[in-house]
Symmetry: C2
Subunit: 403 residues, 2 copies
């Protein structure tokens, strides 16, 4: 198969874009402040959380992104600036104002992001101090892109990055996210920079199509973040590209990042790729997929390598709006040829059934990526979603987050 | 305050009812087989799971309960007889047939229940053997009631029972349930026996009102069971009672059992009682309450004694259908006089705020029952719901359930 783009084994800087990731002491000594700057005007596209409690940077970011001409991103981690009231919004505006002044940009061309604890006032004085002279500290090399990708992390255990070439253009994308992940309309934080020239409206439409297949198909814990943001900046330096090829490249980048987020789910040891097919409609397939991928009983079974397919029966059964006949249900772990269907399970005698379950258990235990396919009937609706197992690590990460 | 009924400190047998709890070796040596029998005809009321994948006993139980004249209950634990196909239903019918013959009852007067693993054929031969001569092993004493309440347990760590007197009548109620708990229309397994005389239709209406305030307001893990059943048998021996008083007694019994189920949630260390008020409607209040009580991030914070109220902001924000203004939101831990409102948190200086959070953390850590009140605005909608924290014990219980 020939890909219409070339994935890069290394992180690529993008011509015309400047990066920075630093520690400014918001919580500890890890990197917590990041800036991305395009020296050229850009076409930009953005999507934000559907939460009814959006953070201050989302409120400000929606205003700024509306113009489609974002040219810089400023991010802090360790504090989400959410539920911080009028002064939180003012602080977010101040950050954009000062960064704009420093970079010689209209503040409306700056997208602010904050991620971390909710409800604690943003230590804006530390950010204000960091912005002073920031232009001189920005770099165009891969190390600065890497530092940016680290500075946006919270409970992530690793950076999530992707680079590729499409024709003469470069696309570099990154994301953060490990908990409070069930994006809806957009996701956690994800940034993409490219020197391809793509008109703003087509860029926005492309982003929506891509996000709906990737970031909007991830769940770590069913909790939707108040800070979800995904943004693309395209400075046009490399000129026009084959837009269909570029969309495939963006889809590859977003798929890579979405899977990386699920795999790095708080406390997770396994990435689950779940497909649901045979539903009456795509919406029904998605409802089944979300019910299964978010079921704590399914997630703990996968964690323990327990092929407890009865829990899939339960999770399908609790989608009250879409009845399914148990005879039509099948659940396959791993290779479809090795799969278990419930009909088989019911008709096999115990001598055959136990070795089959033992093989399933071995599959779950031996693979870091677990592929599960559920079929619910004979309809045309199908969906794919990514998630992760639920282990004691999730509790460890989250039981003392602010204390 | 004068109660219209008298709670009993001890478990009370009910005149005319016979009980049994035994081990028949379905999985191990714990009690796993239970029978309840009324020597008199009864008025009965019942409710069942809304799951679209109901177990075989639910399919048979719905038919038998429709007559309103149930007179016996037969329960096995360690196997749910769910997703066991046609032969599962046949086995459930056989159990009713044989128990009816043994007790001299029409099999349609027998309600079957099974609880435990899903998708494993019911070892009906063990139940058939146990039914032989069962009439001679039934007892009317408290010890047999206690044995019944133990034999219906699965991952429960303790029996859940309640007895009281209403006028001249006795009500004894019990339930099991610790995981796969977000009942909808009915609940896990709960049985009530009384010698009060209450006409069937009024008994059914009463049960529905009570269940909607109690069993339908519990969530351990957001997973709805395929086996939820609640049934009341009323043999009428004690004659008519004040029905309003009886309903209050039934409400007290069901409240006790619902709270006990949440407190005994798999791996749980704390019972959470959550109230939501100020919503536009009761339905909106319930949507907020379910979003909060099921949020893994809220549950882990309570587990760790972390007063991370930002997660309540998140959980309210993800009820997309009901926007709330963050300024209208308040979250109170424990005594309302000690409560934290977000408005206060935003306007306090750090010197005041930190000691307040420290008090909240102490409250969460020192109490086994945590009371949390959330207000989302000024509307008339309010709801109460029970849940529990999420600790590593939940994973321990569930990661290897069938292996």
């Amino acid at each position: 198969m020939t890909l219409p783009f070339t994935p890069s084994p290394t992180l690529l800087p993008v011509p015309g874009f400047w990066w920075l990731g630093e520690n400014i002491g918001i919580k500890d000594t890890s990197l917590d402040f990041a800036v991305l700057y395009s020296e050229d005007p850009c076409q930009s596209a953005a999507m934000f959380t559907r939460s009814n409690m959006p953070g201050a940077p989302i409120i400000v970011g929606r205003e700024h992104a509306a113009g489609g001409g974002l040219q810089a991103v400023v991010v802090n981690s360790k504090n989400a600036n959410v539920a911080t009231g009028f002064s939180g919004v003012e602080r977010s505006r101040l950050v954009c104002e000062l960064l704009g002044r420093e970079l010689g940009l209209d503040p409306k061309r700056v997208l602010p992001s904050s991620t971390g604890v909710i409800g604690v006032p943003l230590p804006v004085e530390k950010i204000v101090a960091a912005i002073q002279g920031v232009k001189g500290r920005l770099r165009q090399n891969a190390a600065s892109v890497q530092a940016f990708s680290q500075a946006i992390q919270t409970t992530d255990t690793r950076p999530k990055v992707y680079s590729c070439k499409v024709g003469g253009a470069t696309l570099t994308a990154m994301a953060k996210g490990a908990g409070m992940i069930e994006p809806n309309m957009a996701t956690m934080l994800a940034y993409m920079a490219t020197d391809a020239a793509i008109p703003q409206q087509r860029l926005q439409a492309m982003l929506k199509r891509v996000a709906d297949q990737t970031f909007n198909r991830v769940s770590v814990d069913s909790d939707t973040s108040t800070s979800d943001t995904v943004v693309v900046l395209a400075n046009g330096r490399a000129g026009a590209v084959d837009e269909a090829a570029f969309e495939v490249a963006m889809l590859a980048a977003a798929t890579h990042l979405a899977r990386a987020i699920a795999r790095d789910g708080e406390g997770a040891t396994k990435l689950i790729t779940l497909t649901v097919e045979g539903a009456d409609s795509p919406a029904a397939a998605l409802a089944f997929a979300r019910s299964i991928i978010n079921s704590p009983l399914v997630k703990t079974a996968v964690h323990g390598g327990d092929p407890n397919w009865g829990r899939f029966v339960m999770a399908v059964g609790k989608v009250f709006s879409h009845p399914v006949r148990v005879e039509d249900l099948s659940v396959t772990f791993g290779d479809p040829a090795e799969g278990l269907t419930i009909r088989e399970a019911l008709t096999r005698d115990e001598g055959e059934y136990k070795p089959l379950l033992a093989r399933m258990s071995r599959y779950l235990k031996e693979h870091e990526e677990v592929v599960i396919a559920v079929s619910v009937g004979h309809g045309p609706g199908k969906e794919r979603i990514w998630g992760c197992d639920l282990g004691p690590g999730y509790v460890e990460v989250n039981a003392h987050y602010t204390t």
